[in-house]
């Protein structure tokens, strides 16, 4: 539920990952190595050899398809899964993986049908008790997700209850059930389920935090302003409860601190960010939250070493990278500004479809004095139609420099009109809006 400055859509991982045997045989590892070396046939042979001695393993082509999917080679993965299903149409594994592919691609009906088929096939006497359990569990898990995504909460609930029937102490399943029940507009029942889930599995997020997340999602999607406001109030209410009830857990404090930052309450956020940091001084997410808070306070100097540390440990964390770029761009050191541009370029390359990356690049270029390049980058971001408030500010800044006050005003009004949402440059946008408003021929109201 965290809302950072530039949410990056990560490449969708399998939603219902299949359980693997705890210690894969050596041939399986050898097969993976062979596949990485592009030796597909050798990989298949290894997998076939492993499958002979271990019936718990998925069919070789199914395994291969899964690996190819994870490596980002979708077409090859599809080919192999089709072959696997043709060779053994009664093996649930193939349908489970097919459902996974379909889900990732948004083909819910296909996913649903594959999962239903997989579930039906678990009854086949060729499977032992463990396999039946596993196939049924994975099929039902998938069905819960698919029905949930389709908005068929009643069906999702049924499948979730079936899962709980088989494993009443599964906290994760019960938490999922709670989410489904919440979507059925039964928050009190959801609260009970989340509470029980947490009791069964204390590694889950606390129930108060889960509920806060659900209310936040509702607030985001609610069109009616009164209902939106009520949902926002509920979000905050549950965040507060989460912090009070779990004083040793850094996550509630961190999430509430970030929520307050999103609401523009900089002073109020401070103690929560500090508390999270005190409880979790080495945690990455807490560090990033602290950096976001510092950036909001216009203390890029203090934020920089934090973000450098996170980036060093997690170079794939695009969110931290984008924040680091912004941080460096605010420096008075030209070398750091130059580095900001270079890193922003990396950001874009790693996610060329993401508008946020272009917005960050545009800002870094602008701060580095390359206004023309900045304009191009920001134009790309604007054209995607998916800009956030900070990106709108960046673009408006450029427009003001070119004296295009009307366009800038529109962007700024839109950006500052969003009451809840991470907006690092909120105060700058407010100041710029005031400046622009004076320059317009007639007063425009926000």
């Amino acid at each position: 539920m965290t809302r950072f400055a530039l949410p990056i859509l990560l490449f969708a991982a399998p939603i219902f990952a299949q359980t693997k045997p705890t210690t894969p045989p050596p041939e399986v590892e050898q097969a993976l190595e062979a596949l990485k070396a592009n030796k597909v046939t050798e990989a298949l042979d290894k997998l076939a050899s492993a499958a002979k001695t271990n019936t718990q393993l998925p069919p070789p082509k199914v395994q291969l398809a899964q690996w190819l999917f994870q490596m980002g080679n979708g077409p090859a993965a599809r080919t192999f899964i089709e072959q696997a299903l043709a060779e053994d149409p009664k093996h649930p594994e193939g349908y489970l993986l097919n459902a996974n592919f379909a889900f990732g691609e948004g083909r819910m009906t296909d996913a649903f049908l594959s999962l239903r088929l997989a579930l039906d096939l678990t009854a086949d006497p060729r499977w032992d008790a463990d396999q039946k359990k596993r196939f049924a569990r994975e099929a039902r898990s998938g069905l819960v997700e698919v029905c949930f995504t389709r908005g068929d909460f009643a069906a999702a609930k049924e499948y979730a209850l079936e899962l709980l029937n088989a494993d009443p102490k599964s906290g994760a399943t019960r938490a999922r059930l709670a989410t489904v029940v919440f979507r059925q507009d039964k928050p009190a029942e959801a609260e009970k389920e989340y509470t029980q889930a947490f009791a069964d599995d204390p590694t889950l997020d606390p129930p108060e935090l889960q509920l806060a997340g659900q209310w936040q999602l509702r607030a985001t999607s609610e069109a009616d302003p009164a209902k939106k406001s009520a949902a926002t109030d509920k979000t905050e209410e549950w965040l507060k409860k989460a912090v009070s009830a779990h004083p040793k857990n850094p996550k509630p404090a961190r999430e509430y601190g970030l929520w307050l930052l999103s609401a523009g309450k900089l002073n109020a956020a401070g103690p929560y960010i500090d508390a999270a940091h005190a409880l979790d001084p080495n945690g990455k997410e807490t560090a990033v939250a602290r950096a976001v808070w510092l950036l909001n306070k216009k203390d890029a100097t203090a934020a920089e070493p934090i973000l450098e540390g996170v980036y060093k440990d997690s170079p794939a964390d695009l969110n931290a990278l984008s924040l680091l770029c912004l941080c460096l761009s605010e420096s008075s050191d030209d070398k750091k500004k130059k580095r900001a541009v270079e890193l922003a370029d990396t950001l874009v390359r790693q996610n060329p479809k993401g508008a946020a990356g272009y917005a960050v690049l545009g800002w870094c270029l602008y701060k580095g004095g390359r206004k023309d390049d900045a304009e191009r980058a920001l134009a790309t971001a604007l054209n995607s139609g998916q800009i956030n408030s900070d990106a709108a500010y960046f673009a408006a800044r450029l427009l003001v420099d070119k004296q295009k006050y009307e366009d800038a005003h529109k962007l700024l009004v839109g950006a500052t009109g969003v009451k809840q949402g991470m907006f690092i440059y909120r105060s700058d946008a407010d100041a710029l809006l005031a400046e622009v408003a004076k320059k317009l021929p007639e007063k425009k109201e926000k």
Partner: protein, 707 residues
């Protein structure tokens, strides 16, 4: 013919006289000379004598006028002072009169004249102009460093300015009253100072009991002006300010009648300011009679006699104030207290209402009014009255704040919220507005909102206001941010070191005792307050904070009421009681620790003396105080008063599980088990403290059955 001889010129008068004398006989000459000389000498002597007589008379008159002036100074009557000075000047043209007049006019005395410095100091002090009084007193101290009153004035001015460090330094320079010339007013001032600076008041009390009390009935005192008599009455009251467990000196009982006479004499004054001081002292004398009776120095019959006489006296005093100054709200307040004392709540309410009509919505009257209505279970009426008054006077901040606080007591948070919003429009930065806002948020269970409100003020403001520091510590723990306490405590320690005052630090630690108690933060918090006490060993605020914290830790730590910790809490609270023997809060805390923690019911009964006094005097205790009192009385098998106290508590706070449980036990003691079981069932449905849970388990089996 020769010219005729002109006639001889006629000789002058004196020449002829001289001829006559020359030719007179000698004895006649001597006789006449003697007569003439005698006449001349007699005349001269007569003139000189007359002049001398006149001078002596003028001198006597001048002395009389100076005495008149001295008397006027003692009485604080500036008009009379000026009249006396005019008379002196008319008699003697003494240039010092101009200096006196100038001092009266400007309030500034020349540094080289200690008498004038004394005059200016007294004038300023009487009117509460403490900075000016301190300035003048300082001049006098240069010439008379042992002047008790002057030093007290300087210290009092420091207290008024919030500079306790300077006040303490000045108080420490005061000699023992037995070794210095000290007036009754000086003793009263010094006593207030000792209390304000946390100094042990024993030397003052000892002097009052050993020396002053004996003087009360003496002949010399009869000639003193009313202001001095009132000071003496106030000195008498100092004698009662010792720890409640300490036996009262016998002299106090013997002087009870004399004090009454002094008060009667002083009541003859026509000065409403003096009479108001007298009335306030009279209201306090009731408690003195109660204590004398409890200490066995007067019989019940004597006590009743004193009280009846005193009620009439006090009523006369306040009535006189009303006659002389009808808009003095203190008069109505004082009369209401007299009625309350006589258990005539309705009459008290009537009196307060009359005061509100005459004086407007004076906050002390309104506060008393709301307390009276609250205690007689008419809180809705009180709310209505305050709300109406607030509507009639929408910009009266004091009214709005009173309304908000009463509404919170009701509890009617909606009313409190509206009143508070209006108050916040008038004075958003007023500390009282912020305090009530914080209380509203905390009582609504939203410690996070309270924390955010405080964060908006900023660290600098929080660390400069003891109240805010207290609430901040509490909100951190209530909001689940106890992990931030070490950093917070470090800031308050740094602040204390920087300012040289532990006040904010003590408040911050006190705040930790107010909220959700976390045993992990207890040792570091205690270490902070102990370090403060190492530096400021007799600081009352630190002692209070430490005692409150220890009491909370004893009750809520793991295990609860751990013996060593409980004893330490009791010891700290006993020390506190020594400093403030009449303080009901300290009494309640100590009684609670002794009753529940140490299982010493007999001792806890002694501890609740101030609560009994307060109940006897005004009948105004909070629900918590009444509950604790009831529990102590019950533990000492005083069933009837226990029931009265607990039933009163239950009326005020029907949703208190604590009260329900104790009242259930009282009913059980009276054989009314059905009522008892109903109360136990109610308690089970209400939020309970750990002590309540322990009490629930300890209930007799018959009470734990379903009703």
């Amino acid at each position: 013919m020769p010219a005729p001889t002109p006639p001889a010129a006629r000789r002058g008068l004196f020449a002829r006289l001289w001829d006559r004398i020359r030719t007179t006989r000698l004895w006649v000459k001597w006789t006449v000379s003697a007569v003439v000389l005698g006449l001349v000498a007699g005349g001269a002597i007569g003139v000189l004598g007359w002049r001398k007589l006149e001078q002596r008379q003028r001198g006597e008159q001048t002395s009389e006028q100076w005495a008149r002036f001295e008397k006027a100074v003692k009485a604080g009557d500036e008009g009379e002072m000026r009249a006396a000075l005019d008379a002196v000047f008319a008699l003697s043209a003494d240039p010092i009169c101009d200096r006196y007049r100038e001092t009266l006019d400007t309030g500034i005395a020349p540094s080289d004249d200690p008498r004038l410095c004394l005059l200016s100091t007294t004038l300023h002090a009487r009117h509460g102009r403490w900075p000016d009084a301190a300035r003048e007193a300082t001049k006098r101290l240069v010439l008379h460093p042992d002047d008790w009153n002057a030093r007290c004035v300087v210290a009092l001015a420091a207290v008024s300015a919030g500079d306790l460090a300077t006040a303490r330094a000045e108080v420490e320079r005061l000699p023992d009253p037995a070794d210095a010339p000290v007036s009754p007013m000086g003793l009263v001032l010094a006593f207030d100072l000792f209390c304000a600076t946390g100094r042990d008041t024993t030397p003052i009390r000892r002097f009052v009991n050993d020396v002053v009390v004996d003087v009360l009935g003496s002949v010399g005192v009869e000639k003193d002006p009313p202001s001095v008599k009132i000071d003496l009455v106030q000195c008498y009251l100092i004698g009662f300010a010792g720890p409640s467990g300490e036996p009262l000196p016998v002299r106090l009982g013997r002087a009870a009648a004399a004090v009454g006479k002094l008060a009667d004499d002083a009541a003859a004054s026509d000065d409403p300011v003096l009479l108001t001081r007298l009335g306030t002292a009279c209201n306090r004398l009731f408690t003195a009679y109660d204590r004398l009776h409890r200490g066995g120095q007067i019989t019940e019959e004597q006590r009743v006699g004193f009280v009846l006489e005193h009620q009439a006296r006090t009523t006369r005093v306040w009535q006189r104030v009303k006659e002389l100054s009808p808009k003095t709200s203190a008069a109505y307040h004082g009369l209401a207290l007299v009625e309350l004392r006589a258990r005539r709540s309705d009459a008290a309410i009537t009196e307060v209402r009359a005061g509100l009509d005459a004086c407007g919505n004076a906050p002390p009257l309104l506060a008393l009014y709301s307390m009276l209505l609250k205690s007689t279970n008419r809180i809705t009426d009180a709310l209505r009255t305050l709300a109406t008054a607030a509507d009639a006077d929408p910009n009266n901040l004091n009214l709005l704040l009173l309304l908000a606080e009463l509404a919170l007591d009701a509890p009617r948070r909606d009313v409190a919220d509206v009143a508070l919003r209006r108050a916040a429009v008038i004075a958003p930065a007023d500390l009282r507005v912020i305090r009530i806002d914080l209380r509203l948020k905390l009582e609504s269970g939203d410690s996070h909102a309270a924390l955010q409100r405080l964060r908006d003020l900023g660290d600098a403001v929080i660390l400069s206001e003891p109240l805010l520091a207290r609430v901040y510590g509490r909100t951190l723990t209530d909001a689940g941010l106890g992990v931030l306490l070490p950093g917070w405590l470090k800031k308050v320690e740094e602040k204390a070191a920087a300012t040289g005052s532990p006040l904010v630090l003590a408040s911050a630690v006190r705040g930790l005792a107010d909220g959700h108690f976390d045993s992990e933060t207890a040792p570091p918090a205690l270490a902070v307050i102990d370090r403060a006490l190492a530096r400021w060993p007799i600081d009352a605020d630190c002692l209070v904070a430490r005692a409150a914290f220890l009491a909370r830790w004893a009750e809520n730590g793991r295990p609860r009421w751990e013996p060593a910790r409980t004893r330490e809490a009791a010891f700290a609270l006993e020390r506190l009681r020594g400093l403030a023997p009449d303080d009901p809060v300290a009494a309640t805390a100590l009684a609670r620790v002794r009753l529940f923690g140490l299982n010493e019911p007999a001792q806890s009964l002694k501890d609740v003396g101030p609560l009994l006094d307060l109940r006897e005097r005004e009948g105004l205790l909070t629900a918590d105080q009444l509950t604790l009192l009831g529990a102590v009385l019950l533990a000492n098998e005083k069933i009837e008063p226990a029931m009265a106290a607990l039933e009163a508590a239950h009326k005020l706070a029907p949703d208190s599980a604590t009260t329900c449980l104790h009242l259930a036990r009282v009913y059980h003691a009276c054989g009314e088990n059905i009522r008892g079981r109903e109360l136990v069932a109610a308690a089970r449905r209400l939020p309970r403290t750990p002590q309540d849970d322990a009490d629930l388990l300890a209930l007799p089996a018959t009470l734990r059955e379903n009703p």
